[in-house]
Amino acid sequence: MNQAEALELVRSKVAKVAKTDVTITLETDLIEEEIVDSLDGMTVMMEIEAASGIKIPEDIDLVEEGFYKVGKLVQFLSS
């Protein structure tokens, strides 16, 4: 998956969980900008895992590790 595909995947899953269309960029922080809360964030990650087949580690703090920053998430998915 390239960076553009990863960004579109994240955007589509965030929109699905937030139940509204969203504009995100690599600079967006999903939690800080209150696009999703920490619980909905778990659903976003699960949706991304199911669609991509890529496992996001369960034994890390996603907030502390910066996984709700779209740039970090896209980098992880496209690496």
Partner: protein
């Protein structure tokens, strides 16, 4: 074997969301809206867990005069938080409740799956020994395990105890269960300190000087993923074992983990929302007590032949599912 009646007890100390927010920095509105909790009860510092369990049992005896104390042949206590490391809470309760010395008592060390496990444990022992009357107790005060500033857990759990009268003759029959364990997820819901691996301080053996946390740690996303992975499959296996279809079930009573988790599970399993019971607004997630607290109302109100699916999941990680039904052979 049958579920004949259920009684419950709560501590007096009411902890509202503003208090939780002041301790932890959690948002009170978030707890109410997303977790589904307005308030919960915590045991007072001077109140031992067994006193809460005894109150639930005494409430059961008061409400059910047909249940004589001397007739209770078995008491199974589901808890991970007894008064002491040893002896087991069942022994404390036998004495406190003045049950006969011939009463078999033991504890089952499970969390949120424990009530559903306990139903089958008691059923099996009753069937194999001829015991006609048993009490299944749940009492697991997680307030004793939670750091007040732990944002992962402090807004979630509350304390309660329940006592379920199990009888050989009538009530809700206990069907064929589905059980499961995935110990690879053990670390996702854990209290590391105080056990044999990391004993309490002062013991003077390996581990001294490196104190493991004696408070509850939860990997929320791992537990969430575990629930969505295992519970639908457990429900499907349990339905098949009992020769039932999802549409045959009148009510689904899952462990009352949180509003977010039950809403998500309901959506993923495509269950009718009016068949899925959820109510923790004034209790919080009460661990192994959450299912019997819901059943307490249903047992009193349920029309004949109603089929209730119960499914618990949590610490272990573990899960258990069963069907309770009026008018079916036990």
């Amino acid at each position: 074997m049958h579920v004949r009646a259920i009684a419950s007890a709560f501590p007096d100390w009411v902890v509202d969301n503003d208090t939780i927010a002041s301790w932890s920095g959690l948002d009170a509105r978030f707890i109410a809206d997303k977790i589904g909790i307005d308030s919960r009860r915590f045991l007072a510092a001077n109140e031992p867990p067994s006193s809460l369990a005894a109150r639930a049992c005494n409430s059961l005896f008061s409400a059910q005069p047909e249940l004589a104390r001397e007739s209770v042949g078995l008491m199974v206590v589901v808890t991970q938080n007894g008064d002491y490391k040893l002896p087991h809470m069942g022994a404390i309760l036998q004495n406190e409740l003045r049950l006969a010395k011939t009463t078999a008592t033991f504890d089952v060390g499970l969390g949120c799956s424990g009530y559903v496990y306990g139903l089958s444990v008691a059923k099996g022992l009753m069937a194999s020994t001829g015991i006609a009357q048993a009490i299944l107790v749940t009492c697991d005060p997680y307030s004793r395990l939670m750091r007040r500033d732990s944002r992962d857990v402090i807004g979630l759990f509350g304390d309660a105890a329940t006592a379920t009268w199990l009888s050989a003759d009538r009530g809700l029959s206990i069907g064929l269960p589905d059980f499961g364990t995935d110990g690879s997820g053990a670390a996702h819901l854990i209290v590391r300190g105080g056990g044999g691996a990391h004993p309490a301080s002062g013991i003077g053996i390996a581990g001294e000087g490196e104190q493991a946390s004696q408070s509850l740690s939860m990997g929320g996303r791992a537990v969430f993923n575990f629930m969505l992975r295992e519970v639908p499959e457990s429900v499907a296996r349990c339905l098949a074992r009992n020769h039932l279809d999802k549409d045959d079930i009148d009510l689904f009573v899952f462990h009352q983990a949180s509003k977010f988790m039950i809403d998500t599970l309901t959506e993923r399993m495509a269950l009718p929302r009016d068949k899925v019971v959820f109510d923790i607004a004034r209790t919080g997630n009460t661990v192994s007590s959450s299912i019997p607290l819901i059943l307490e109302r249903l047992v009193a109100d349920a029309p004949p032949r109603q089929k209730i699916l119960v499914s618990g999941f949590g610490v272990g990680l573990s899960w258990a599912t069963n069907i309770l039904q009026y008018g079916a052979p036990a």
